[in-house]
């Protein structure tokens, strides 16, 4: 399957929920430490052509750490920028009129963005300023700020069934579950002894959540009995940067790590590690599974490469 070379270091990759061949990549110059950023919107080749084509790209004044496709409009993208701003891009408009919105409220790097998949009208941003913010497209400011974490919040993810519930993972070693109708967090899970860098909900079980940590493990939790994890998955050699549940199979997860590998897990199996890909030559920091094509994976990393491949095949073979 094809490979795309980005000029900057990859930070995140997301498949479009509307087009099976479209994906967006967030990149940042100089490993996201200093410099500009760029968002690439890519189209996968239809079978005869071997090249990934770039549909659009948007430059930013600081690195782009994450992005999320809108669940309501096929052409809208939300980007989390390292300068703390949240920007909205519309692919149907010419590059000069983009971004169509820019919200600057976070005082430090915005690290993740997630669009509400149920109500489809709002999205979340998580930031290193220890807060999570709730936004809608039509308001000039954030709807709410959730500030309870004591250190960087690396990820905030909506529950796939309940329109008002989300979870946030933080460097303060806790996972928090929130209900936007409630004044504070509804649950605090001290999930790891080290920083938690990512979390995701199971798409088939609205009580099941996975956390990925600097302690090199992924833990799977049931929010109804959160004293002990359902499963602890070890196999990565360094901090696990991102974890995503499969939209197609209940137990399946994909993760990427500072050990440069992308791993596939099925937490319900005894041998949970079901696949390992070592195609990246630098930290693998972005990974996604396509909703529209079963088994289609995408990953990006600091080696400035975006790989898209079918599970079970070699990402480098094309």
């Amino acid at each position: 399957m094809p490979v795309f070379k980005t000029p900057f270091n990859g930070y995140s990759v997301k498949f479009s929920p509307f087009y099976e061949s479209r994906l967006a990549v967030a990149t940042a110059q100089n490993f996201g430490i200093l410099g500009n950023g760029r968002i690439h919107v890519l189209d996968l080749p239809s079978s005869p052509s071997p090249q990934i084509s770039e549909l659009a790209s948007y430059d930013t004044a600081d690195g782009v750490y994450d992005l999320a496709w809108s669940e309501s409009h096929e052409s809208l993208l939300v980007a989390a920028i390292a300068d703390g701003s949240i920007k909205i891009y519309d692919l149907s408009l010419p590059p000069t009129s983009n971004p169509i919105r820019s919200f600057l409220e976070h005082s430090r790097e915005a690290h993740s963005a997630d669009y509400n998949p149920v109500r489809r009208d709002s999205f979340l941003s998580a930031s290193w300023d220890d807060s999570v913010k709730l936004w809608t497209l039509d308001r000039p400011t954030s709807v709410r700020t959730f500030k309870e974490h004591a250190y960087c919040v690396y990820s905030a993810v909506w529950n796939p069934r309940h329109a008002d519930v989300f979870a946030s993972a933080s460097g303060d070693c806790t996972l928090r579950v929130w209900d936007v109708r409630e004044p504070g967090s509804t649950m605090i899970i001290p999930a790891h002894d080290f920083e938690i860098l990512s979390c995701d909900w199971n798409k088939y079980d609205d009580c099941c959540i996975a956390t990925a940590s600097v302690d090199k493990t992924i833990k799977v939790w049931d929010v109804r009995s959160y004293r002990v994890p359902i499963s602890v998955l070890s196999g990565h050699g360094y901090a696990v940067r991102k974890v995503r549940f499969s939209p197609h199979r209940q137990g399946l997860m994909v993760s990427c790590s500072y050990d440069m590998t992308v791993c596939l897990w099925d937490y319900m199996l005894e041998d949970a590690l079901v696949g390992r890909y070592d195609h990246h030559t630098e930290f693998a920091v972005g990974v996604d599974m396509s909703v529209l094509v079963e088994g289609l994976l995408a990953s990006t990393g600091w080696d400035e490469l975006v790989y898209v491949w079918q599970n079970g095949t070699d990402p480098r073979a094309f």
């Binding site: 430490i33 390292a82 250190y151 360094y238 440069m260």
Partner: protein, 462 residues
């Protein structure tokens, strides 16, 4: 900048989980590359702005007063090295240096530093006559036995800083001409501080101090001396030094008849292949009655010179010059003057660390053998595998021309690395230490372009 540092700090926490809760005061320390051999990912070794060594040569090292260079002036010792080294072997095209800023730093004669500048200027004219000698700046440095290494490190630093494009780090000592004198006039205040007074100790006494303080026995020292001679002899006989030695045409005066004879010196003459424990045990100690340092287990008094040519990788590749190795790091660390010889034990770990490596990652060491006592101590202190240290002998067998030894060690190391092949890292230690690397990206053999003979006919005719 604050922002960038904070980002680095946050990301670093992901890789170095120090505590269960990240403390905001986690200090970042600067290092050249934190990813050593032990890192999970492959280290990309080749950058255009790496400082690389494209040539390293030396003269033979000869016994002072009795050896091959006893009647050679210091000026005439290094000129051939510069000449051969830079010009004929590497085949720099004429005029290469014209648009390029070049500099020379020399670990000059430790014994006669004040004389050095003028004769360096002089032999630049002799040695570098192919490229406008008057525009090439020269500078001399003195760090005693590490002077040669310091000169190489200074050139590397200057190239990194952009002061030069090409530089020569060299060293020279002619102990036949220049004597080791006691310091003439001393500030009387030195008596107040023991450490200041210790700075005036003769080197041999400091060697005895090392032996006494760290319990290095006479037997261990004699054994080190025998090993040094054995290895140097083996290397010399098998022709290992041929690559690095530039033959010097000079004269020798017969002391009895006074007749001058032209000679070409291309072999080290201090090596005694038949050195053995029994003979060494018979030697009298020199500095202390019940001491351990003898003429047999101390370095020899010698004449010699060495030079190392450095430039950025990008320039070397552009000019098609061979890359022998990459200059990775350098450190100089002070120690108690009463036991000055233990410098390598202090400096090597620092240099290795700042290269982002562990001691185990280093494949070869070159540690100066000023005295067997300090050499044995350093090896023991660092826990080095004897098979990795001074594999071709050291100053006990080859000789120790003070200002030249550093440059000599670099050359010996680089040529040994070339023989050993790929992906090695190696360190050189005196009071100062440096780490060099022969990574994946150095040339297997030599990428110097051979100049095709031009028969001045057009292509059509050929």
């Amino acid at each position: 900048m604050e922002k960038a540092l904070n980002r680095q700090r946050v990301l670093l926490q992901h890789l170095q989980p120090t505590s269960s809760f990240p403390s905001s005061s986690a200090a970042l320390s600067a290092s050249i590359c934190a990813a050593g051999d032990s890192a999970a990912y492959h280290r990309t070794a080749a950058f255009g702005d790496d400082v690389v060594i494209v040539a390293a040569y030396r003269t033979a090292i000869c016994k002072s007063k009795r050896g091959g260079f006893k009647d050679t002036l210091p000026d005439d010792l290094l000129a051939p090295v510069l000449k051969c080294d830079q010009v004929s072997r590497v085949r720099l095209p004429r005029g290469l240096f014209a648009p390029i800023r070049m500099g020379v730093q020399t670990g000059c004669s430790v014994l006669q530093p004040e004389k050095a500048w003028s004769f360096w200027r002089f032999h630049l004219a002799l040695g570098l006559n192919l490229f406008h000698p008057d525009t090439v700046p020269i500078r001399t440095v003195n760090r005693q036995c590490s002077s040669g290494l310091q000169a190489v490190a200074d050139v590397a630093a200057f190239i990194k800083a952009g002061f030069y494009d090409i530089g020569i780090g060299a060293g020279l000592e002619c102990m036949s001409v220049d004597q080791i004198d006691r310091v003439q006039k001393v500030n009387p205040k030195v008596e107040i501080f023991a450490q200041a007074r210790d700075c005036l100790l003769p080197m041999g006494v400091t060697s005895e101090n090392v032996a006494q303080r760290f319990g290095v026995t006479r037997q261990e020292q004699d054994h080190a001396a025998v090993e040094s001679h054995r290895r140097a002899a083996a290397a010399s006989v098998s022709g290992k030094f041929k690559d690095e030695i530039i033959p010097v045409s000079t004269k020798v005066v017969d002391p009895k008849t006074g007749i001058e004879k032209p000679v070409t010196i291309s072999v080290d003459d201090g090596i005694r292949p038949n050195t053995n424990m029994t003979d060494l045990a018979k030697l009298k100690t020199v500095f202390k009655k019940d001491g351990t340092t003898t003429a047999g287990n101390a370095s020899q008094v010698s004449d010699g010179a060495g030079a190392v040519l450095l430039m950025k990788r990008s320039l070397a590749v552009q000019k098609g010059l061979p890359i022998l190795g990459v200059f990775r790091s350098f450190a100089a660390v002070g120690v108690d003057p009463a036991v000055m010889g233990i410098g390598p034990a202090a400096a090597i770990p620092v240099a290795v660390k700042s290269a982002g490596l562990e001691l185990d990652d280093v494949d070869l060491f070159e540690i100066n053998e000023a005295f067997a006592s300090q050499y044995v101590y350093c090896c023991k202190k660092l826990g080095l595998d004897p098979e990795k240290v001074n594999v071709n002998g050291g100053a006990i067998a080859l000789g120790h021309p003070l200002g030249a030894t550093g440059a000599r060690c670099v050359g010996t190391l680089l040529h040994e690395m070339k023989r050993r092949g790929k992906d090695c890292r190696f360190g050189s230690g005196m009071g100062a230490a440096a780490v060099f690397e022969r990574g994946d990206c150095v040339d297997e053999l030599c990428n110097a372009r051979t100049v095709q003979k031009n028969n001045l006919l057009s292509k059509d005719v050929q």
